[in-house]
């Protein structure tokens, strides 16, 4: 009886001690979380400042074109295509290997909406050509806008 009671007491003491240890460890974790967050504040402010500096002073259009600039696309050709291709047209984007790496065809799909991009240039009414030879298209086209070496906008002959 006495033995059981002393065992229960020592178990209770050990539980209390464990509880205190756990509580202390938890308090240390809270402190670590707070310190880690505090240490990050200057870096966050610097990052925000750098991003603001990079975009401040730019026009609304330039800001919307930020991904095209960032990924090295031809912004002039993009804007010209927007002017020339009718809003209800189906168009295709034909680019060279290097230009494809910039994601240009995908960005055109976004930028030129509601114009619809077809992956098949044979099914398109218009073609945006960048870094590729027109003679290799396999469809008869007329040049509507020629940006020199920077690309062409073609209307498919029907």
């Amino acid at each position: 009886m006495e033995g059981t009671r002393s065992r229960t007491r020592s178990e209770t003491l050990s539980t209390t001690r464990n509880g205190r240890l756990i509580a202390r460890a938890a308090a240390v974790l809270v402190a670590v979380a707070l310190l880690a967050a505090a240490k990050q504040v200057p870096r966050s402010l610097r990052t925000a400042h750098a991003r603001v500096e990079a975009s401040e002073g730019r026009s609304a259009l330039e800001r919307e074109l930020a991904p095209a600039r960032w990924w090295g696309m031809n912004e002039k050709l993009l804007l010209r295509a927007e002017q020339v291709i009718p809003r209800d047209a189906v168009y295709s984007v034909v680019v060279g290997r290097r230009q494809a790496l910039s994601g240009a065809p995908l960005f055109y799909s976004y930028w030129l909406l509601p114009r619809r991009r077809s992956k098949d240039s044979g099914a398109a009414e218009w073609i945006v050509l960048w870094g590729k030879d027109r003679s290799r298209l396999g469809v008869a086209t007329d040049v509507v806008a020629d940006l020199g070496g920077e690309g062409e906008i073609l209307r498919v002959r029907r």
């Binding site: 938890a26 799909s109 909406l113």
Partner: protein, 459 residues
């Protein structure tokens, strides 16, 4: 930019707030001005999630997302919530308070959250279209196609013509709604909206977790969450991973509170957030199901046995996604061009791709525990789970299993993926892991509170 788009944005957020307050009113959580003030952030982010679910269904049913359709959806949700108020008694969430020196710890944490959100707003104010590849390659184009073509168009240049056509439509639907209200498809107002939702997320976490967690623990943990470099980089990125991490974070908070408090209100909130997460991205479903299954197991194992609420929380994400699955089947869309889940049943193929699994398993820990990207969130959560395990084993299990599910699901996808594994990991890991880290950051204060709590009861 003119002020008109921002007036439209304000109008949309007022409607989302009304829808969210309606739902909270229906649950008994918002019945006074004090409740409205406290739960304003929760109401906005809940309205955003619930309206997103309803819009996804509306799109699948063939509706467009013009402003009056969205206004009708918001009004219907708000009215349904308010009409339930007569039958559901008020349930005021308590708030743990702080005294003495510990208040200053809470103040320091809160100050860091405010500074981080202000820094983010400063950046977002001048931000244009997002730079992240996936954002402009398919998330924004999908949203624009909904706005331009009046719904889910399956023709050339339509919704299904972009990458990942099998992703559910919640995120593009919410973005398209913003385009309808701002009257422009420019991405700049979208960044501001994403900031507002992020701010509402932190306010919602505070109003929910304050039920259980004292401010001196809660605010330092929220400060850590607000300071994570990769989380702040992803906020206002227009990537689908951004709403996914916020929705899973809120779902985790509500599921954990249900475990600790046993109130059906939290299970209902978890059901809404987890359903929206499942509709935000395919990656949302596995952690949503795991959380709901753990809730159900606990409900069955622990007296008084009340499995109804967790059963509904389990059924909700599946029911929310069912219309989209049917729509995909009707239109012959593959679930994912990047992997076939059925490959998991082909042992020969799996063993032939063990090199992919071993590569992913080798590089993944470096990303999950990256201090540069996630500070100390993961190690802190793991240690806190161990500390809380003796007192709250179910909570520790919920935290470890939910976070672990994201990591394991990612490993499985890399294993059965069809694209080169090195490229696949490089282009996706840090985005997808964000959900796991945010969940870890949400569980952290709850685990620490339970570890520090003198109460010995297990749960």
């Amino acid at each position: 930019m003119s002020a008109a788009p921002f007036l439209g944005l304000a109008m949309l957020d007022t409607l989302l707030l009304a829808a969210g307050l309606g739902v909270l009113c229906g649950l008994g959580l918002a019945r006074s001005w004090a409740d409205v003030f406290r739960h304003g952030g929760l109401a906005l982010v809940l309205g955003w999630a619930v309206v997103g679910i309803a819009e996804s269904w509306a799109l699948v049913a063939g509706a467009s997302l013009s402003w009056w359709v969205v206004a009708s959806i918001c009004a219907a949700i708000a009215a349904a919530g308010v009409s339930r108020a007569r039958r559901i008694p008020a349930f005021r969430l308590r708030k743990v308070r702080e005294h003495g020196l510990a208040r200053w710890v809470a103040c320091a944490g809160a100050a860091i959250v405010v500074v981080q959100l202000v820094a983010l707003l400063w950046r977002v104010r001048t931000q244009g279209a997002p730079l992240q590849w996936d954002a402009w390659a398919f998330w924004l184009p999908k949203a624009r196609s909904i706005a331009d073509f009046g719904g889910l168009n399956t023709g050339i240049g339509g919704f299904t013509s972009f990458a990942s056509p099998g992703y559910p439509p919640l995120v593009p639907a919410l973005d398209a709604t913003l385009f309808s209200f701002t009257g422009t498809t420019d991405a700049s107002p979208l960044a501001v909206q994403e900031w507002l939702i992020a701010a509402a997320f932190f306010a919602a976490l505070w109003s929910l977790l304050a039920v259980r967690v004292r401010p001196a623990i809660l605010w330092p943990c929220l400060a850590l969450l607000a300071s994570l470099p990769n989380v702040t980089a992803m906020l206002a990125s227009s990537l689908g991973d951004e709403p996914l991490m916020l929705l899973l974070g809120l779902g985790s908070a509500c599921a954990a509170l249900w475990l600790l408090e046993g109130e059906g209100h939290f299970a209902a909130l978890a059901a809404f957030f987890l359903s929206a997460a499942a509709l935000a991205k395919n990656e949302g479903m596995p952690p949503a199901l795991v959380m709901a299954v753990i809730m159900l197991v606990v409900a069955v194992a622990r007296p008084p046995r009340r499995p109804l609420a967790p059963t509904l929380a389990l059924a909700a994400p599946l029911a929310a996604l069912a219309p989209w699955w049917i729509w995909m089947r009707v239109h012959g869309l593959p679930p994912s061009p990047d992997y076939h889940l059925s490959d998991l049943l082909r042992p020969a193929l799996l063993s032939g791709r063990l090199d992919r699994l071993s590569y992913a398993a080798h590089v993944l820990p470096g990303h999950v525990f990256s201090r540069q990207q996630w500070l100390l969130t993961m190690p802190l959560m793991l240690v806190a789970s161990l500390l809380a395990a003796t007192r709250r084993p179910a909570l520790s299990l919920l935290a470890l299993a939910s976070v672990g599910t994201v990591v394991v699901a990612l490993l499985v996808v890399y294993w059965i993926g069809l694209r080169p594994v090195g490229w696949y990991v490089l282009t996706s890991v840090d985005r997808v892991i964000a959900s796991a880290v945010v969940m870890a950051g949400v569980f952290l204060p709850l685990l620490l509170e339970e570890a520090l709590r003198p109460d010995q009861s297990s749960g």
